[in-house]
């Protein structure tokens, strides 16, 4: 029965949605201190290449490769974040865009390590690795009545889902902590935040490095899900795509880029005919959003309304219960 439900193709689409959600979260973190970065494709590629090379050439375990990839992207994030601290808005965007291109060109030309423009293929696929691991413990796909490739896609999806949920939970919690408050204050008014005794340098670099690390993490996952990466995967298009998640969904609350990533990744799959015009549609979305809803589809107000409606509903129900009880009593 399970065999009929599981469609590896759809599962793969869902897996890409999850990776894009992680990318959306990464740009959200950087934006939450008001820093506009177009370098996230660069950070993503650092994570992807690091993990791919470590696992393929040096036989690192996959998990270690992914973690080191994310960490290296985070460290590079700190190195880029400090000198660009004083840049704001579009100037920071240009600087980080430049950074992304430098990384890409580096990967194209460092052929001995990256195989240049051809890219790296047969990167350990983490679904397949897992299935092999499971087989050693005696578990195989036909034990639960599905084919091997179905099990692979299913495992990839489940693991990505768990990772994504954990990441979102972490950052939602961070938003409600001291750190989140500091980020929000810096985004609203840097001078005021500074006057309150918030260490601007520390928090801005922290946000930038966190964003870079999460992007690198997503990149590393991407490498092990597609099993093939090349510099063109991380070109300017990718940087814009990541930014669009936040522009379309909204960057005020974390649910914005999550929604943006989900919708914009699912859209070309659902409407096969329009997928060719993907980048054209992105362009139109950018222009339309700037003109009509610059804060993105999901903003504070919307979340606030949803929350207060829930509360109201609950209150009405409570009142009803209360009244009923009194009715019975009298």
């Amino acid at each position: 029965m399970l065999a009929e439900i599981i469609n590896p193709y759809y599962l793969q689409v869902l897996s890409f949605i999850l990776i894009n959600i992680i990318l959306g979260v990464s740009i959200y973190i950087t934006l939450s201190t008001g820093q506009l970065s177009l370098g996230h494709a660069g950070f993503m590629s650092i994570g992807a290449y690091t993990s791919a090379i470590l696992t393929l050439n040096y036989d690192f375990p996959l998990v270690v490769g992914v973690i080191l990839g994310a960490l290296l992207a985070g460290i590079v994030g700190i190195l880029i974040g400090i000198p660009t601290l004083r840049l704001q808005g579009v100037y920071l965007a240009i600087a980080t865009l430049g950074f992304g291109e430098v990384v890409r060109v580096l990967f194209i030309n460092w052929e001995s390590l990256t195989q240049g423009a051809i890219g790296i293929s047969s990167i350990p696929h983490f679904g397949r690795e897992l299935v092999t691991g499971l087989r050693d413990t005696g578990f195989t796909a036909d034990m639960i009545g599905i084919r091997n490739n179905q099990l692979i896609s299913l495992l990839v999806f489940i693991i990505l889902l768990v990772i994504t949920v954990l990441l979102i939970t972490f950052f939602v919690r961070q938003n409600h902590s001291r750190v989140g408050r500091a980020f929000a204050a810096i985004k609203m008014d840097e001078n005021a935040a500074e006057a309150m005794g918030i260490n601007i340098t520390y928090y801005k670099v922290l946000a930038f490095a966190q964003g870079a690390m999460v992007a690198g993490f997503a990149g590393a996952l991407y490498a092990h899900v597609t099993a093939y990466i090349s510099p063109s995967d991380f070109a300017y298009h990718r940087a814009v795509e990541i930014l669009i998640f936040a522009v379309f969904g909204g960057s005020e609350v974390i649910w914005g880029p999550i929604f943006g990533a989900t919708f914009l990744t699912a859209m070309p799959e659902l409407l096969r005919e329009v997928s060719e015009y993907r980048y054209m549609i992105y362009g139109i979305i950018l222009v339309a959003m700037m003109a009509f809803r610059p804060q993105g589809l999901i903003d504070h107000e919307m979340i606030y309304k949803i929350k207060s409606r829930k509360k109201k509903k609950k209150k009405v129900e409570d009142d009803k219960k209360e009244r009923n009880r009194h009715g019975v009593g009298s």
Binding site: A184, M188, D189, N191, E194, A195, M196, G197, I198
Partner: protein, 232 residues
């Protein structure tokens, strides 16, 4: 308590302060007067650590604080209410006040109550977004927020800016009360008359230099001050 000794502060290559020296005795209100571009705000920013003077020293409670960062200075007891209020418009009044205590550890409940008592309007509006307050209320919020850090020295940068005369009077009354309860105040103002009325000492800045200083009473009577700043 605070002494500023011959500081020179630059914006890039442009020198904004040329040997400014200011003394703020403990428990007093000291005001810095001057026209636009005289260097008043620059002086405040230099003291608060937002700008770093190229030369000169600043000492606070016998400690050299010349190149310290704003967050360290807030911990040491210097709070700045920036020019133009600078409240966090997307946060509620209560959240703004909590942010004021960002550098503190332990319970802030008591101080919250105290601040709300002093500014009843803030208590009334505590769950409203900061940006929806009127100008005067925003200024009160900015002062209240600075008080949440429990400062020993409160730096007020033009609290009367853009406010109606009646509200200005209220604000100055509040500043006086805060001072009477033991907080030393350094006040930058263009509204010279009001400032001199509540201050103990005053400094007059012009193009980055102190051109006059003395007790507030003296300066109120000074004919050149009257002419330049009081409009007589």
């Amino acid at each position: 308590m605070l002494s500023v000794n011959n500081i020179q502060t630059y914006y890039g290559n442009i020198q904004a302060l040329k040997n400014v020296s200011i003394e703020v005795p403990q428990g007093s209100i000291v005001t810095i007067l001057g026209a636009n571009g005289a260097g008043k705000t620059t002086t405040m920013k230099s003291i608060a650590g937002v700008l770093k003077p190229k030369q000169g020293t600043i000492t606070f409670l016998d400690e050299d604080i010349t190149n310290k960062n704003p967050d360290e200075l807030v911990r040491k007891g210097i709070s700045l209410v920036p020019e133009g209020r600078a409240i966090l418009s997307g946060m509620t009044v209560l959240e703004n006040l909590e942010m004021g205590a960002y550098q503190r550890k332990g319970s802030i409940k008591q101080d919250l109550d105290k601040v709300m008592e002093r500014f009843p309007i803030l208590k009334e509006r505590q769950s409203q977004l900061g940006g929806t307050l009127s100008g005067g209320q925003q200024q009160m919020l900015a002062i209240a927020r600075a008080l949440m850090a429990k400062p020993k020295l409160l730096l007020l940068d033009e609290p009367s800016m853009g406010l109606a005369p009646l509200i200005v009077k209220d604000i100055f009354q509040i500043v006086k009360e805060i001072n009477e309860e033991g907080t030393t105040v350094l006040l930058v103002e263009q509204n010279a008359r009001q400032a001199l009325k509540i201050a103990d000492h005053a400094y007059v800045l012009e193009t980055g230099r102190v051109i006059k200083s003395g007790s507030a009473k003296e300066l109120l009577k000074d004919s050149s001050i009257k002419e330049a700043y009081l409009g007589h």
